[in-house]
């Protein structure tokens, strides 16, 4: 009789040990794959930001001929681009990218006053491409933040939080998505 109880007990104990070992492995793997996914989505944002920066010289040269007297806005766009290209870490890049997006937006608003420019094929195509890139950046950030949410969920809920502190995985921050600024645009002639 005791023999049976002992055998059952040992089997159950063995099962519990296996499950706990599996938990150690699976939580670690989960944290690592989520971290990798987050890094990957960061590089995706980078790709889109770079595409935007690459289009700026073309944009500037196509508007220069028409907007001869709008030096300040053209300068802000060029400066913002320089800042983006020179940015080192990702939060710097994202902030610089936002500033560039802002400057480009103001440039397009001012361009509304130049009907000849608005009829220019090259300009229209650039406008469309830059608008598409804006959407893609928004989606990349959304995906990045989704990854952060999953990661934070797994590292802060029970029992993940115990494994997380054991392995040294900490909570991560979300990317701040700027609201579209609707301030009146000052047009200088």
């Amino acid at each position: 009789m005791i023999y049976i109880i002992m055998t059952v007990f040992l089997w159950v104990l063995g099962g519990v040990v296996v499950i706990i070992a599996l938990a150690f492995f699976s939580y670690y793997n989960r944290f690592v794959s989520l971290t990798n996914q987050i890094e990957n989505s960061l590089s995706q944002i980078d790709v889109q930001l770079k595409k935007r920066a690459d289009l700026v010289p073309n944009l500037v040269s196509s508007v220069k001929g028409y907007m001869k007297h709008e030096k300040s806005i053209i300068d802000s766009v060029t400066d913002a681009r320089k800042a983006l290209v020179g940015a080192k870490d990702i939060s710097g890049k994202v902030r610089a990218g936002d500033k560039l997006q802002d400057a480009i937006g103001r440039l397009f608003a001012i361009a509304e006053n130049y009907p000849n420019l608005k009829a220019n094929e090259n300009f229209l195509q650039l406008q469309q491409e830059l608008s598409a890139i804006e959407d893609k950046i928004a989606y990349s950030r959304q995906y990045y933040n989704d990854g952060i949410m999953s990661y934070n969920n797994s590292t802060t809920t029970v029992p993940g939080m115990w494994f997380a502190s054991l392995y040294g995985f900490q909570k991560k921050d979300y990317l701040h998505i700027p609201d579209k600024q609707r301030e009146p645009v000052k047009v200088e002639f």
Binding site: Q44, K136, Q142, Y143
Partner: protein
């Protein structure tokens, strides 16, 4: 916004659970038939039937599954989309792949004035998305995005693989039932085994006749659930149901499209008319209602 988020995650989870439960029902029916047959006849007979039906249905479906994308594309005469001419199509799908983490599928266009779309492919790496010319002409950017998000969700949820699995099981049950009934017909001259399996024989016959119909109804129910799930998953990517709601509203005034029965379940909205229980798609009004609640 938080509440809206939970709703569509819940919707997705609910539909996936129901799909699995329905598959379970199909399995039970399969086993029930098996038992009935084995009581009525020799168990080795059951083994024989099972092996043959598994081989046939798997072969048949595997070929279809492996080539599902090319089969469905050629049956509707779809042409590859042009990255330059169909810039918006490409941009929208690229944006959605960034939001979903999916690889970029191949894009196609089919010539039809009705608004519709379908996705096919055994996994995200071998996926295709096809739009009708009607969709490209009649939908605006946000509506197109909603439609494309729904299609990408089918790919992301591995719906095509799941529906194929369901088709395999349905096929197997149909073949088993068929073989069982035929063998009864042939064995009716042999009175040896009748004494043993009397009641199970009757159950077996009833099951064999009803089962294929029952499992097809289950398969259609699964198909409808997956459509709801794809609607909800689509919202997860676009973060607003507005685009898809407006697109479905426009689709309500679609007329019939001439497509073969095999391809029609893959479409965004049902291309052909059918009776209610045999619908592959849920009614558009119900879909719009559920989307509004998100």
């Amino acid at each position: 916004m938080e509440q809206a988020r939970l709703s569509f995650y819940d919707e997705i989870r609910k539909n996936k659970i129901y799909s699995v439960l329905l598959m379970f029902v199909v399995f039970i029916i399969l086993i029930a038939i098996g038992y009935a047959i084995s009581y009525a006849f020799d168990p080795s007979y059951l083994f024989f039937i099972l092996v043959i039906s598994i081989i046939i249905s798997i072969l048949y479906v595997w070929i279809g599954y492996y080539n599902s994308a090319s089969i469905s594309l050629s049956s509707v005469n779809a042409k590859p989309a042009n990255p330059r001419e169909n810039r918006m199509f490409y941009d929208l799908v690229e944006g959605l792949t960034l939001a979903s983490g999916l690889p970029m599928p191949k894009l196609y266009i089919m010539n039809n004035p009705q608004i519709n779309a379908f996705a096919s492919g055994r996994d995200p790496k071998n996926a295709v998305v096809c739009l009708t010319t009607g969709a490209l002409e009649k939908l605006n950017k946000q509506e197109l995005e909603g439609v494309l998000s729904h299609e990408l969700s089918h790919i992301a949820n591995y719906d095509i693989r799941f529906m194929t699995l369901a088709a395999v099981l349905v096929g197997m049950i149909a073949i088993i039932s068929e073989m069982f009934l035929r063998s009864l017909w042939m064995q009716s001259n042999n009175s040896d085994d009748n004494k043993n399996g009397g009641i199970f024989l009757i159950i077996g016959i009833v099951l064999a006749i009803l089962a294929p119909i029952l499992v097809q109804l289950v398969q259609l129910a699964i198909s409808r659930k997956r459509e709801f799930a794809a609607d909800a998953s689509g919202v997860r990517f676009t973060r607003t149901p507005t685009g898809l709601i407006n697109a479905l509203t426009k689709i309500k005034s679609n007329s019939e499209m001439k497509v073969s029965g095999a391809v029609s379940p893959l479409f965004l909205a049902k291309p052909n008319r059918a009776m209610n229980l045999f619908e592959t798609h849920p009614p558009i009004e119900v879909r719009i209602e559920r989307l509004r609640k998100m």
